[in-house]
Symmetry: C2
Subunit: 181 residues, 2 copies
DNA sequence: GCTCCTTACGAACGATCGTTAGGGTCTAAG
DNA sequence: CTTAGACCCTAACGATCGTTCGTAAGGAGC
């Protein structure tokens, strides 16, 4: 609930009064449920982290590397589209977390990126991907594209199809003379 | 000057008092130079737009499509690294522009994205890139990666090398059996 | 029936917000 | 010397911020 407003107007752009009004309640009443505004931001971040990790968990690990990457991309984009609010907080508003919670977020993000990178590394090591692949750069390329999607994703877009389009480009490159599928 | 603080703490997270202190001045004194806080955000956005467009202007148009894309990626990443403040405002803080200025930004971004997309479309139409290339998706993939870079770019990173790494992945794909270079 | 806990209210708190006003100091042109 | 304008000061403005307070209604468990 709070995540929606944070995503819309930003953390500092959303007042406790705004949140209370959205809930149909006086602003003082909110403090029966939270200790501070920061708590709401923290909860939204945690929700986002959980959603992204859960989506990645659902990718089977007995598939070829390419397929796993395609499915991971689908999973990530689906979270962005279906849980846009918490996803937005996770990718953009986390910066306003204070104290240990900011560090906790960074750890969470690092862990997620590492899981993503492993998809590429494993694929390379098993010989399913190019042997000279820069897996760090590849993971960042994909994750960046997926993270940025929320800025232009139209509501109700088919994210699976979009993920497949990205993957098609990524798999064979933009140059001609495509390798056989 | 203001862009730095906006990039660091966000627009709403930066007070006029903060800006004044950074300039070694009382906050009331700022209003001899600006009409409102919004003006500072607007100026930073305009600076960012100009920097990105100027960087793209410097890409020669008598090169093969692949080279132009590689250079455009270099140019974009260089702006992000060397003018991180205005670049950050352009990609993230623009949302707090009010009234016509928000619309003006959207037009500016659209124009920039269109210029980027044209690189891919032209390359495809001239037969220098895959004939089945989805130029819209490709442009978004590249621009997203470039835009997101500011979140993890280490200070003093070699952005040209990074751009080339991205391009290498993009050109030939991640799969094995690379096309001959 | 009594007590406890949750939830909510309305009012108020001190702090900080963006902005304005009035007055002062300096510099450069007339 | 005078004047105009640029620049900065201090002080204050009304508004809004996040948070706290005392109180009260309602339900659950004894």
């Amino acid at each position: 609930m709070a995540a929606r407003l944070f995503a819309e107007r930003g953390y500092h752009g959303t007042s406790i009064g705004d949140l209370a009004k959205a809930l149909g309640v006086q602003k003082g009443s909110l403090y029966a449920h939270i200790e501070s505004k920061q708590d709401l931001l923290y909860e939204a971040m945690r929700e986002g982290a959980e959603a992204f990790h859960a989506a990645l968990d659902a990718v089977p690990d007995d598939l070829p590397a390419g397929e796993r990457i395609r499915l991971a991309l689908r999973a990530h984009l689906r979270v962005v589209a279906e849980q846009l609010d918490v996803a937005t907080v996770f990718v953009r508003e986390w910066r306003y977390l204070e104290g240990d919670r900011a560090a906790e977020f960074l750890g969470e993000r690092r862990r997620y990126e590492e899981r993503f990178r492993a998809l590429f590394r494993d694929g390379r090591e098993r010989g399913e991907l190019r042997t000279d692949l820069d897996d760090q750069a590849a993971a960042r390329l994909v994750l960046s594209a997926a993270n940025w999607a929320y800025t232009w994703l139209p509501a109700g877009a088919d994210t699976d199809e979009l993920a497949d389009r990205f993957y098609a480009i990524l798999a064979d490159g933009i140059r001609g003379y495509a390798t056989p599928r």
